[in-house]
Amino acid sequence: MTLRLRAAIVSIALLALFLGVWHLATRSTGAAANMSPEYAKLMGLTATQGKSAMPGPLDVGAKLWEHLKRPFYDNGPNDKGLGIQLAYSIGRVGLGYFIAVLVAIPLGFMIGMSPLISKALDPFIQVLKPISPLAWMPLALYTIKDSSISAIFVIFICSVWPMLLNTAFGVASVRKEWINVARTLEVGTLRRAFTVILPAAAPTILTGMRISIGIAWLVIVAAEMLVGGTGIGYFVWNEWNNLSITNVIIAILLIGIVGMLLDQILARFARMVTFPE
């Protein structure tokens, strides 16, 4: 039996164990004794059947199936299919992240190639980098005056730093001998940047991009809880206000799956530019 197969069996066993414990912990324990019928009616199943307020795996499964059957319905502002909500979130992350790529990679190149710019910009980067992206939100809302664009700005600001620093580091640490090869061949600065520095730094740049997409996906949920309206983050908060824990759990699961997919896409790109030494 291969290692892969054995690992898969253990994974499935762990999942089954988790679901089993979950099911047992949240199941009904039968009718609660001695309760006046009127009071019982008032209290609902949770009190009368001893059922936990926490949904069990079967409830979540049933609800998830319901969502998956109709992912794109739109019944007005507070009732949209999960597909639509996820699409909004992915769209915001994609846009903010794309703008961050456009800024971070050229700027990172400049910082990596010029010790002067590197030293001059360093204090700014050191101060701006540790700021929680959500701290920018009020300022963004005030200046941009549009909650949706503010969310995109927050995604931009949180994903720009890892890409910027990794690009600068990757460019600055391109092997001297490769640079020397380009120099002895009288390769011009621009051609050198594209034919030597970019391919040499690409794995490091992609690592930064992969870290960034992870952070962006973490931040979008929080940002959408604040700005409201649409998106998976807003959905989580809305369902919390509805006290639908089932939907909250489903949203959590989907956030995890989408985050994994985004990471896998970037990992695939990273493999494409990696070269064996």
């Binding site: 092997r175 490769w178 070269f275 064996p276």
Partner: protein
């Protein structure tokens, strides 16, 4: 006056020292080579050999003095001077063909793809890598990587080929094969070559002129040794040549003892007129037919005469 294709004129290289002064690696270094010559520079680590080569390549600049190649002072790097790096320095994301083609298209920017490829292929064939064009450097052995490095350097048909200990990272067998190839190519193409080495036998086999440098800091070019062995020499019976041991012992003696004490021994050393030595057959003649027995007839025991 001989033809000076390469002329290093009074160069010095100094680095700022920690205490505010400067450390002189070498100064007032004069050296010249004729077109088509193969020069080897030998000296201990730290004598500035690599710095001299980097200055010749244009990768480093002398603190003083100038280097003239083919009648012109050099300024920066040039496609006329190809470098073969010790670490081969291939671009790992390009194939063998890609690495050579990169050099070719850098020299002839207007050439179309097919012409670049054909030209690159010619040099890949020359170094015996036919069939490995589409491999990446990580799939090649150390010797094959260095062959690619040689093909890349030759492909731009440089006026000078500069080699920085090109074979030092290779095993002895591969090194021998590559030395043979380099010698063959240099003889065929009349390539002017300047090489750094630590290996005395390598220098004897390859070089026409061997430059001996004293220990640094403050290294000087002590002697130029002219290789007395015939131009067409073979690795197999090189060591049977009557001049071989005279030459080898002279160089080894220098490296072992004289490189340390040279400055003290020779008070009036003129760096502009470095003595040229031609270790040759000394007084004793090896009896014909009889193999010279090393214990009784070490030709190198007698110091060769020096002439300026």
């Amino acid at each position: 006056m001989t033809d000076k294709f390469i002329s290093i004129e009074g160069i010095a290289r100094r680095y700022p020292a920690a205490g505010g002064g400067s450390t002189t690696i070498f100064e007032n270094l004069w050296l010249s080579m004729a077109r088509g010559e193969f020069g080897c520079i030998i000296g201990h680590s730290g004598c500035g050999k690599t710095t001299v080569l980097n200055i010749l390549a244009g990768l480093d600049e002398p603190s003083e003095g100038a280097v003239i190649v083919d009648g012109r002072a050099i300024e920066g790097t040039s496609l006329d001077r190809a470098v073969i790096f010790q670490s081969h320095a291939l671009l790992p994301w390009r194939t063998v063909l890609g690495n050579v083609a990169y050099a070719v298209s850098s020299k002839w920017r207007k050439w179309d793809r097919a012409r670049v490829k054909a030209h690159a292929q010619k040099f890949i064939d020359l170094v015996g890598l036919t069939g490995s064009e589409h491999k990446h450097p990580s799939e090649l052995s150390g010797g094959m990587k260095q062959r690619v490095g040689i093909a890349r350097a030759l492909s731009i048909t440089p006026k000078i080929m500069l080699m920085d200990e090109p074979f030092s990272a290779l095993d002895a067998l591969t090194r021998g094969t590559l030395q043979d190839e380099v010698r063959r190519i240099c003889l065929e193409t009349g390539q002017t070559t300047f090489m750094i080495t630590h290996d005395v036998d390598e220098a004897i086999f390859l070089a026409d002129k061997i430059f001996l440098m004293t220990n640094g800091p403050g290294a000087v070019l002590a002697e130029i040794v002219e290789n007395p062995l015939p131009k067409h020499r073979d690795r197999i019976d090189l060591h049977r040549h009557p001049y071989y041991y005279a030459l080898r012992n002279h160089i080894v003696d220098f490296l072992v003892s004289r490189s340390k004490t040279f400055a003290a021994d020779v008070g009036d050393h003129d760096p502009r007129n470095v003595p040229t030595v031609r270790p040759g057959l000394p007084e004793l003649v090896i009896a014909s037919g009889a193999e010279p027995h090393p214990q009784t007839s070490w030709p190198g025991l007698s110091r060769p005469s020096t002439s300026t």
